[in-house]
């Protein structure tokens, strides 16, 4: 039931926004076509400006994952996270989530299929995937797009958000399931 409602919400959200923007613009006598072109003109430059940052991140994350270094790193962290009640199976996901959205989604999907969506691991993987964000992607791409080199406290804040998200997912999962 809720799954259906959510599916409908995400199906309708973007068409709704487009209609809202365009009808509101038309009502306020905005030349909608000219306004769209005017705003859209910037899109290309902003997108192209982040290529170096994307390439740097993708290369580093991919070699870390493909070489097997991530599995070793996850295994080293396993006893630490075992202390707070995290099953070792979800560790690669916890390590990967801040680095790469698509890899993390792949790992979460694999966990859900292997262990079943209605098991503790399946639920935990689902909640972790929704809770933490691709912090490093966001940091490098957002700062990179405007040429910021000194990130100041954005890095520790982002990492703290990921850790808090991990703890919060574990806590609520242990509480409910």
């Amino acid at each position: 039931m809720i799954a259906q409602v959510l599916g409908e919400v995400s199906r309708w959200a973007i068409p709704f926004l487009f209609v809202l923007f365009l009808v509101a613009g038309w009502c306020r006598r905005v030349p909608v076509y000219e306004a769209f072109i005017q705003g859209a003109a910037e899109g290309f430059q902003i997108a192209v400006r982040i290529i170096p940052y994307l390439v740097a991140m993708f290369v580093a994350i991919k070699i870390f994952r493909v070489s097997g270094a991530m599995d070793i790193f996850a295994r080293i962290c396993a006893p630490l996270l075992g202390l707070i009640g995290a099953p070792p199976e979800v560790l690669p996901l916890a390590v990967m989530r801040p680095l790469s959205g698509s890899s993390a989604l792949g790992l979460a999907t694999e966990l859900i299929h292997t262990h079943g969506p209605d098991t503790f691991i399946g639920r935990l993987a689902s909640i972790m995937q929704g809770t933490t964000d691709t912090t490093f992607f966001v940091l490098t791409v957002y700062f990179g797009s405007v040429g910021i080199r000194r990130f100041r406290h954005a890095v520790p804040l982002g990492l703290m958000a990921d850790l808090t998200g991990l703890f919060a997912s574990l806590f609520i999962c242990h509480l409910l399931f």
Partner: protein, 200 residues
């Protein structure tokens, strides 16, 4: 800090690959990784162009101003360095809204636009401002109301109750956002006090 993390990822990757006797993987992975980075950017060009066009229509229609005025109590509290009628706030609000609704591919264009606007207020162009750090903290810790992707994955895996994770996700993201914004708030004020006393 990012220098260290980047170096760590690449060097451990190469060392482990060499140790496993798969050193040929390194070259292959570097080239394919570089290609993937550019491909993500190519996908983004269309999205950026489309959403920035729509954003401009919404701005000229006055929708962004209405939204910014409604959320002013929050923006004044968390973005004291940004004038309350600045276009950066509109883009920030649209980015956060897209994140809340789980519209990942709409969030990035608004986020990059917000950074561009925030950069116009930056006196030192190579250093992040307080407002940028707050924005990134809010962005990465954002509340998620509609985790549509993962619910879809669960449906596909044959879950008896695919949406049961919506409430827990909302709780976990809400807690994360409160903790992160609180930390940012304390950090900001702590540093401001220290800088001021150092200046005396």
């Amino acid at each position: 800090m990012l220098n260290l993390i980047w170096l760590f990822l690449i060097l451990t990757g190469i060392v482990v690959a060499a140790f496993n006797g798969r050193i040929d993987l390194v070259t292959e992975t570097f080239f394919s990784g570089a290609n993937e980075g550019v491909k993500v950017c190519l996908d983004l060009i269309g999205l950026m162009t489309l959403w920035l066009g729509m954003l401009e229509v919404a701005r000229q229609a006055g929708l962004i101003r209405i939204l910014a005025r409604l959320l002013r109590p929050f923006t004044v509290l968390f973005f004291p360095g940004v004038p309350s009628d600045h276009p950066a706030l509109g883009a920030i609000i649209m980015n956060i809204s897209a994140n809340i609704l789980g519209l990942g591919n709409a969030a990035t264009p608004f986020g990059l636009k917000a950074m561009e606007e925030l950069q116009k207020l930056n006196p030192r162009p190579d250093t992040a401002t307080d407002a940028m750090c707050t924005f990134l903290a809010a962005n990465t810790s954002c509340i998620v109301l509609v985790p549509a992707t993962i619910v879809g994955v669960r449906v596909a895996a044959g879950s008896a109750n695919a949406a049961e994770i919506v409430g827990p996700t909302l709780f976990a993201t809400g807690l994360t956002m409160v903790v992160t914004l609180l930390a940012d708030f304390c950090w900001r004020n702590f540093f401001r006090v220290r800088r001021r006393s150092a200046g005396r």
